[in-house]
Structures are given as C-alpha cells and as structure tokens.
C-alpha cells in the first residue's frame, strides 16, 4: 500500500517538476577583452613607473594571444583607485576586465609600493586587489608577479610569466649554443658554446640545473650544468650513445638512454649514488623517456612493434603498456601536468606534427598543421605548447594555446633555434 502510494507520488511530482533544459556545450571563439589602465603615480618620480608597469603587464598578458586589449586612446577615464572606477565607462567599450593601480614611493632609496585592482566589468565586481613592495630597479620583475596574479584570477590557471625557456641555437655550421631566456625572449643567457652539436635540454625541478647532451668529446654524452655556478659535470661516457636525459619530479634521478653495444635502452640514474638501474631490455630502439607527474610511470618511444610508437612503463612493477596505435610514427611523448593526457610528435604521411591524446581514449588530436614539427614542450600550467619547426632551412619556435584559439611564433634569433624546454614554476 505504502509502496503504491510513494510510487504514485513520485510519478506525479516528476510530471509537475519537469522543466525545459537547454544544454550549452560550446563556448565562444572570442577572447576576453582586458583594459590595462596606466597606473597612477605620485608626482615627482623620474620616470613614469605607473605607465611602465601597466605596459609590461599588458605585454605579458598578450604574449600568447589569450586576450584582446583595449587601446589606451579609447579609454574614457584613467582611474587609479576604486573610488574613481565606474563600470559604465568600460561596459560601453565592450571590456570584460579592467586592471588599474597606483605607484607610491616608500622612501628615498627607490623602494616602491604598488597597489593594483582587477574588475570584472560584466558582473560589476572587483575580483582582485593586491599590494607589492618593489624597487625602481626591478619594475619588470614586479610586473611579472602582477601579471601572474591577474592571469590566475581571470583564468583559474597558474601564471607563467616568470618562467624561462631553454633552447639550442645553431648559428652556423660550427657553432652551437645552449641558451636560456625569459618566456618573452628577453634576458637571453648563453650557458655553453660548442663547435659540436648540443641536444635535449631538460630543467631540474628546482630550476637550478639543466641536463643536456653534448658531442664535444666526439660522441653523445650527458652533461649537467649548474646555472648559478656554471659548473658542468659529465655523467661519464657509459656507452656508445648516452642521451635523452630527463629529471625525475623529485630531482633525485634522471631517466636516460644508454646504448651499450649498440642497443639503446632506458635507464634510471641516481644523481647521488651514480647508480644505473636498467628499465627496458629489448633489442629494439627504446628512447625518449619522460616521467609522469606522479613519478609512477615513464613514457618512452620504442620501435619494438616495427615502427616508433609510444609506450608507458611502471617504474615499480616494470609493466609496460602500449599507448599509441594510430599512424606509423608516434614519438617524443610527454605528459600534461595533470597526468591525464600526453602530447607527442605524430608522423602522418610524411608530415610530422604535434598531437595530443587523452590516456583514457584512443583518439589522437593533431594540434599543428606545419610539417616538420618536433620537440614540443608544455607550460607548467598545461595551457600552452611551444615546439620547434622550420621555415625553409631556418628553425624557429612556434606555439599554440590548448584551446586552439591562438597560434604564435617566438621572435627569430641569429640562427636556427630548436629543442625548447619550458622551465618549471618558481615555487
């Protein structure tokens, strides 16, 4: 009796409360429009620090084509505090977010106190407010921090404006340079110059060292260079080829490839004890290892099936799993920072492009449409991939945001640029 009662009640309530539901699965292809208002500044500064800071922040935020900006000449007002801020002035210009701020001097030593605000114009609310103490000498660094905070508030992703890029420049037939620079290409430093090729740079998780391959002694040899001291240590020529070094997430070991007697296999090398532990043992080519973010697995390239494909090995159990089947060339696999997807080089009819694949799915998605793409590296927030490609005979770095909305290329250097490696976040 009661069961019938409740069933009836359920049926009735269901019919009374059904409501039309419209699903929204797609978003707009447009970019958010951000207004970077020149920061207000105290009278009496030698330089217009307010204008400088907002200009740096604007340049940073626009670097990868993720936002649209409002031209200063179109701004209806230049508020520098909440009291002067009127949403109407920005809503009418189609602005989605506004950044304002003020620079105050603290003392005669050039110390500055910078306050900044971020407003969501559509929701008519202030969504961020902050204060930074800096100095006239490090305006650019302060601007990077402010850019990071604003970026994080708008997108929910970590800001990467203070990260660095390592890459190899081949300026002529006999000159190879291992370089690092800021993410916008500024402050380039040459770490090492050689007459012999340099390959495969990889950052240590603490950003203090870079491992790379150098042919200075006539064969492929792995070196670790300390960025602070400039000191270089070789991991001794162990086999006829020693290459593809990648740091473990805890910074204590490297996965690398050694070819003893002509068979390249993956090994784990402990930095402290210098012990080498074998991970793969197959007569095929096993190379290009990379760690999963949780350190439990290593992805690698192997041609054991007849052509290069991606595999995954569990570092504890040594169990292997094949990851790619589509196409006859899938190599140089790397994990996304969330560990759920991978990106790699996918060969398709003679074209080599950057592709991604969710670990839980079969389907490969190609990201690039040029044909000689290689060495992809991902930003630590998982949003941008930079890779090496060619234009005629000159190599340069291209990039793409993962939502596909923006493609860009990095400024050309004196020479062929390749093998980019994105540094981790400064924690």
């Amino acid at each position: 009796m009661i069961r019938f009662f409740t069933l009836l009640f359920f049926l009735v309530s269901n019919s009374i409360f059904t409501i039309l539901e419209i699903e929204i699965l797609k978003g707009s292809d447009n970019l958010s429009k951000v207004a970077f208002v020149p920061f207000g500044a105290e009278e009496g500064f030698e330089e217009d620090y307010g204008e400088q800071i907002s200009r740096y922040v604007e340049k940073n935020m626009l670097l990868f084509g993720e936002f649209e900006n409002l031209d200063k000449s179109e701004m209806l007002s230049y508020p520098s505090s909440e009291n002067d801020f009127f949403y109407r002035d920005w809503k009418v210009l189609g602005v989605d977010y506004s950044v304002i701020g003020k620079v105050n001097s603290v003392n005669a030593l050039g110390n500055l106190n910078i306050s900044y605000f971020l407003f969501n114009i559509n929701r008519r609310i202030k969504i961020l407010e902050g204060e930074i103490i800096g100095n006239e000498d490090n305006i650019e660094d302060i601007s990077k921090i402010i850019s990071n905070r604003i970026y994080e508030q708008i997108t929910g992703l970590r800001g990467i404006f203070d990260t660095k890029l390592a890459y190899v420049v081949n300026s002529d037939a006999d000159t190879y340079q291992m370089c690092i620079s800021d993410i916008d290409g500024k402050n380039e430093q040459i770490l090492f110059t050689s007459k012999a090729p340099i390959m495969s740079p990889d950052w240590s998780p603490d950003r203090k060292k870079i491992a790379y391959v150098s042919f200075e002694n006539g064969l492929a040899e792995i070196f670790i260079q300390d960025l602070q001291s400039g000191k270089r240590d070789s991991i001794q020529a162990l086999g006829m080829t020693n290459s593809a070094p990648v740091w473990s997430p805890d910074g204590k070991s490297l996965a690398l490839v050694v070819s003893f007697s002509g068979n390249p296999d993956i090994f784990l090398y402990s930095i402290n004890s210098k012990r080498l532990i074998r991970l793969t043992n197959h007569y095929g080519i096993d190379t290009e290892p990379s760690w999963s973010p949780d350190s439990k697995k290593i992805i690698f390239t192997s041609d054991r099936s007849g052509s290069p494909q991606l595999y995954e090995i569990n570092t504890k159990s040594k169990r292997k799993k094949r990851l790619t089947r589509d196409g006859n060339y899938n190599a140089r696999g790397r994990y996304f920072p969330d560990g759920k997807s991978i990106f790699f080089v996918h060969g398709n009819d003679g074209n080599f492009q950057i592709a991604t694949k969710k670990l839980s799915s079969r389907y490969i998605e190609t990201l690039t449409s040029t044909s000689l793409d290689e060495s992809p590296t991902i930003s630590p927030n998982g949003n941008i991939i930079i890779y090496a490609t060619k234009d005629g005979s000159n190599g340069y770095l291209g990039g793409i945001t993962l939502d596909g909305k923006s493609r860009f290329s990095l400024p050309v250097k004196n020479g062929s640029v390749r093998e980019p490696a994105w540094s981790p976040l400064l924690n």
Binding site: P197, N217, S259, E374
Partner: protein, 154 residues
C-alpha cells in the same frame, strides 16, 4: 736490493691498475677511446672510393649497392688501423630517435664488415642522428643525401 724492491712494487701497481681497467666492460673502453679522439692521432687514409653508404627513410638495411661499395672497401680496411663509422639521419622525425637510428645504421655496416672478416676491435661506431646534415635543405634530394653512414679510415 732497494731499487729492485721499488721496481717490483711499481710492477705490482701497474698490474693492479691494469686489472682494474680490465674489470670495466671492454666495450666501455672501446667507446671511451672514441671519446678521447684517439683516432685523430692517426693519419686519415685517403681512398678514391665514395665514403658513404645510403639508406631509406626510417630503415637501416643495406641494399646491394651498399654491399658492393663495402666489398670494394675491404682491402683498404684491412690495411687501416681504425675504421670509423659515423651514422646520420635526415631531419624528419624526432632527434633522439634519429640518434638511435643513426647508430643502428652504423652498426649494420659494422656487422657486415665483421662478417667479411674485419676485426671488431678496429671498428669505431658513432651516431650524430640528424645533427650534422650534409645538405641543409628540406626536400627529398637533401634528405636522401643525409641518410648515410660515413666511413673514415685511419
């Protein structure tokens, strides 16, 4: 008496260090010597043969033409002290994989020579992957020229 004692001690030390070296993998020594550019101390022998063997894309097998060329090399090789085989690839594909592929190509040539009676100890194998192309263009012709093993005799 004393100098003889010192002499014996010195001999013992020598023997001990030799033993220590031998306990390292023999192969380790073989490649370490390449690293030491030991071959450069020798003079390069000139031959009037084309010093390159070519390969197909993503392949490391020797075809009849390659084998023919190598056969012609045999008399020169027998005279030489060191045979250096340098493996290379074209720019397509990933660099590290190409490093391994270049090595495999050089090893194919080595294996062929060994089968033909050349002593393995004479042969040095190095791979440069795609890092040292002969031709810097991005077309089939350039790629075909870059997929090679270079033979140098010392």
């Amino acid at each position: 008496m004393e100098p003889i004692g010192i002499f014996i001690l010195a001999m013992l030390c020598q023997v001990y260090s030799c033993a220590a070296n031998v306990s390292d993998s023999v192969e380790r020594m073989q490649y370490a010597s390449v690293a030491g550019d030991e071959y450069l101390q020798e003079e390069k022998l000139e031959t009037n043969l084309d010093d390159k063997v070519y390969f197909d894309f993503d392949k490391s097998t020797l075809d009849a033409e390659d084998k023919n060329l190598l056969e012609q090399y045999l008399p020169e090789i027998k005279k030489a002290k060191i045979v250096r085989l340098e493996g290379h690839c074209d720019e397509r594909g990933t660099r590290e994989y190409n490093l391994a592929l270049g090595e495999r190509r050089a090893l194919e040539v080595r294996d062929f020579l060994v089968v033909k009676g050349v002593s393995g100890k004479k042969i040095r194998v190095v791979s440069f992957g795609e890092e040292k192309p002969l031709k810097n263009a991005s077309n089939e012709k350039a790629w075909a020229e870059n997929r090679r093993v270079e033979i140098s005799l010392y």
